[in-house]
């Protein structure tokens, strides 16, 4: 009888081990995905220190300063057309929860920022066949109004804080142009955020409230229908973004460029290319991102 008990115990523990191993082996059920991004100016690779002629409605010359943006809610589309969320790797400083930072400036040759760059989003999806990509440009609402003094990477970069708007700059696309040598900035972020405030880790209850909602969330929804992560990459093209804007001019009494303000006519063309509503302008498809081989 004693022998039997031992047998039972050892057999059961074996089963336990087996069962768990089977359930926890991610390779068996999930596959790694790597979504590669490129930054470009009218098709030419974005490089700090280069100048790009023929940009915008008035064919201005552009010199880069910054090219960073957050993406979130990244999903692949399966063969049935279902959206399947990519679970982002959490071990990298470029990703936190469901948001990732893409960074194409290297802090040199006229670019602001820092040396480190990042051109991929990495994660896992259930094993299977996929044929499309969908994501949002921006920091999700749940993270956008957090207490930045307690935020973790990549949401702890002061150049991407947007304190006045109590959130983050979803995109920081800065450059100088022939007509605006001091700089032309394109900062995308949520505006018109209602009564109440930025969240604070341990503040009193009043200060803890996040905005109920923002009248202009400004998170472009990007859908690349035939995207295959194995063969395609996503191109973010500054030239296309600015195609309808005169980047040599700035509306007086507004910051140079477009800071997502509804009263700033410099935003009209940019929002159009992002597929975002702007005042009463009709909304079309976003064009800033495309898929390339």
């Amino acid at each position: 009888m004693k022998l039997h008990t031992t047998l039972i115990v050892s057999l059961t523990s074996l089963c336990v081990l087996n069962a768990c191993a089977a359930r926890q082996q991610p390779e068996a059920e999930t596959q790694a995905v790597k979504i590669r991004f490129n930054a470009a100016v009218n098709g030419a690779p974005f490089v700090c220190g280069k100048t790009y002629p023929g940009v915008g409605a008035k064919a201005s010359t552009l010199t880069p300063r910054d090219f960073r943006f957050y993406v979130s809610h990244v999903s692949l589309i399966d063969t049935q057309g279902h959206k399947v969320p990519v679970r982002l790797n959490q071990e990298t400083p470029w990703q936190h929860q469901n948001v990732a930072l893409l960074d194409f400036e290297n802090g040199s040759a006229g670019c602001e920022g820092n040396l480190e760059t990042n051109d991929v989003v990495t994660g896992t999806v259930p094993a299977g066949q996929y044929k499309g990509l969908r994501f949002e440009l921006g920091v999700p609402f749940e993270l956008n109004h957090q207490d930045v003094n307690r935020a973790s990477s990549p949401l702890n970069l002061t150049s991407l804080f947007w304190i006045w708007r109590v959130g983050y700059k979803f995109a920081r696309l800065d450059f100088a142009s022939s007509g605006q040598p001091q700089g032309y900035t394109v900062h995308l972020g949520s505006t018109g955020c209602g009564e109440s405030a930025m969240m604070h880790g341990g503040g009193d209850s009043i200060a803890r409230k996040a905005p109920i909602s923002c009248s202009e969330p400004n998170r472009p929804d990007v859908f690349l229908k035939d995207f295959d992560p194995n063969t395609h990459h996503v191109t973010a093209d500054l030239g296309v973004l600015l195609a309808e804007s005169d980047i040599d001019l700035n509306q007086p009494e507004t910051p140079a460029g477009c800071m997502s303000t509804l009263d700033d006519s410099d935003c009209v063309g940019i929002f159009k290319q992002l597929g975002l509503p702007f005042g009463k302008a009709p909304v079309g498809p976003q064009r800033f991102f495309r898929q390339d081989l």
Partner: protein, 406 residues
């Protein structure tokens, strides 16, 4: 039989356990995506044990609300005071917070609008700093900035406009501070529980603690009210007080309460109001518009009725903080009274021409009034009784670097 029985028992047991194991594993596997807490290590308890801070204010003056995660300590206030006066906090090390916030002017700067280290002018007037812990919102027109810990990120790292212009240079900033033995000692003293206290969280907590220590509650009027010293203010000021709190001028509606602003919160009130008002300073082209770079609360909410609405500042120390209004566009207290007496300002020519008194978004309390010259002088005498001379001379708020040179 015995063996057979045992075998089946083993099988039964094993299938049962694997079932349990499976369930257990599934439970363990269930979305490990539970929101991780912010990485920063807080230890409010540990900090609270540090030397307690004693408020300097008269009996009866309300106590401010302090964030639970940043209790006041002497060591934090001391560190914050050094940071406030330290030019290392700006890009080219040419400006500190105190460059735009001078103690002699109740921590305002006497300029219409200030210029940051990159030479760009701010659209708004540098605010006086005192009794900050009572302000439910910060800055002239932002309704969402409620914490000093976050507001200061604007002058430090903001870009529109750049002020201290450290945008993206947080690592450089901490490198500068770390190199100073003074800060090695003071950061450790303020945050003894931290492995590495040179973080944004700790820097902002220390600065905010110093800011909260800037209490101004010792004006002649405070001595009149709280110490019941009837001789503390002049007869003229007493007549001015009556006018200030009258339905004639309506001043008290927006500048009432212990801090002379309707925008205040303290431990005694559960609900905080965040009022913003249009006082008819502008009316561009008769549309109600304010200049494009200073549209007030409207800039943030896009609601038409918020055009030109700004926070009513405290009128304590108002004698010291000229020029006045969000854009420093009124030079003297006499002119401020004229603005209110006219029920709004009229600008006859130029890009800002317009009749402010007919601004459609103007508050109903700015309706205009007629005062004699004596009454105007009385009102101003009252406003001047709100000056706290001990505040602007308080050594605890003064430049610690200037002192160490002596």
């Amino acid at each position: 039989m015995n063996v057979y029985f045992s075998k089946s028992l083993v099988l039964l047991m094993s299938s049962l356990t694997s079932l349990v194991a499976l369930l257990a594993c599934q439970a363990g596997e269930a979305p490990a995506q539970s929101t991780p807490l912010p990485s920063a290590q807080t230890s409010a308890q540990a900090t609270a044990q540090a030397e307690a801070y004693i408020w300097k204010m008269p009996e009866g003056f309300p106590k401010p609300k302090i964030p639970a995660d940043n209790p006041m300590t002497i060591a934090k206030v001391d560190l914050g005071r050094h940071l406030f006066y330290d030019k290392r906090l700006s890009l080219d090390q040419s400006q500190s917070c105190a460059s735009c916030h001078l103690q002699s002017k109740a921590f305002s700067d006497g300029l219409r609008v200030p210029t940051g280290v990159t030479g760009v002018a701010h659209p708004r007037n540098s605010m006086a700093l005192f009794n900050l812990a009572y302000n439910p919102t910060l800055t002239w027109n932002n309704h969402q900035l409620t914490q000093l810990e976050t507001q200061m990120l604007l002058p430090l790292f903001g870009e529109t406009p750049p002020e201290m212009a450290m945008t993206g240079l947080e690592n450089e900033l901490f490198k500068r501070l770390r190199e100073q033995p003074l800060y090695q000692q003071k950061f450790k003293a303020a945050f003894p529980q931290d492995q590495d206290p040179f973080t944004l969280l700790r820097l902002t907590q220390a600065l905010a603690s110093f800011e909260r220590s800037m209490i101004s509650a010792n004006s002649a009027y405070d001595r009149y009210v709280y110490a019941e010293d009837d001789s503390a203010i002049s007869l003229s000021a007493k007549r001015g007080e009556a006018l200030f709190f009258s339905e004639t001028t309506e001043c008290f509606h927006c500048h009432g309460g212990f801090n002379f602003t309707d925008s205040s919160s303290h431990t005694g009130n559960a609900f905080t109001e965040r009022p913003f008002h249009n006082t008819g300073l502008y009316n561009l082209g008769g549309t109600g518009a304010y200049p494009a770079d200073n549209t007030g609360l409207y800039e943030l909410t896009h609601l038409p009725e918020d055009m030109g609405r700004f926070r009513a500042p405290s009128l304590r120390n108002i004698e010291l903080t000229a020029p006045y209004m969000h854009d420093g566009s009124i030079a003297t207290l006499e002119d401020v009274i004229e603005h209110y007496a006219a029920g709004g300002r009229t600008i006859r020519s130029g890009p800002y021409a317009g009749v402010g008194s007919t601004n459609p978004y103007k508050s109903g309390f700015v309706k205009g009034f007629k005062l004699t010259e004596q009454e105007k002088a009385d009102l101003i005498a009252f406003l001047k009784s709100l000056t706290d001379h001990s505040f602007i001379q308080d050594p605890a708020l003064s430049d610690p670097f200037a002192q160490s040179l002596k």
